[in-house]
Symmetry: C2
Subunit: 100 residues, 2 copies
DNA sequence: GAAAGCACTTTGCGAGGCAAAGAGTAGAGA
DNA sequence: TCTCTACTCTTTGCCTCGCAAAGTGCTTTC
């Protein structure tokens, strides 16, 4: 088709494998902790930490730290903005692929 | 959901906005020339050229140069390998998103 | 009371994306 | 004919970004 493809509709923050996986996981489960995400996505801890920080800085996820016994646990959950961005991303992606 | 998300199923060659746009466009139209892609995707020529080279090096597209009158025209088309990779990418993406 | 484990964060470097500059050719005007 | 502009890409150089290795702070084990 001769359709113009709107690449800028694909949010750069989400269009990254690890971050896409994080958002997808959080959208599905509502919330997850660090170790769950690390295992589910199969990424290194440093890598994951960096991407979670990016998502937090963009207001796409919230971070809550609490103590379970004596151990810290950090839980991540999508914000309304994050959910909206994820859905917009998926829509843009489908629009790109649908014409094929 | 607690599903493991297979991020490595997302082909790095295709998981890039410009290259995804190129493959999507070529899959839809069968073939396109340089200027069409440049306009359709709204990217700079240098940027596009680089990504087309990457796709060619991975055997995802073929490049054929011909003269139309006295002007060169370069036409790009997906290879069977490229089509397969694109479809696998889309499937992996859908699998990632479907569980949401 | 060192040493090892847990839960992340920060750092440093290498790969990758982007636009600006370049290269090669053709036609138009002086 | 000799520049000048136009066209179609390619190459270069910078600069961002992603990644894993190293680091931090606390807790538990030996």
């Amino acid at each position: 088709m001769a359709a113009v493809r709107r690449l800028d509709a694909l949010d750069d923050v989400i269009h990254q494998k690890v971050r896409l996986g994080v958002m997808s996981s959080l959208m599905a489960s509502g919330e997850s902790d660090f170790n769950f995400l690390k295992a589910a996505l199969g990424v290194s801890d440093g890598n994951l930490s960096t991407h979670l920080t990016v998502l937090e800085e963009h207001g796409y996820i919230t971070v809550s730290k609490e103590f379970v016994g004596k151990k810290p646990r950090t839980t991540y959950a999508p914000t309304p903005l994050g959910r909206q961005a994820f859905e917009a991303y998926v829509e843009a992606l489908e629009a790109l692929v649908r014409s094929v």
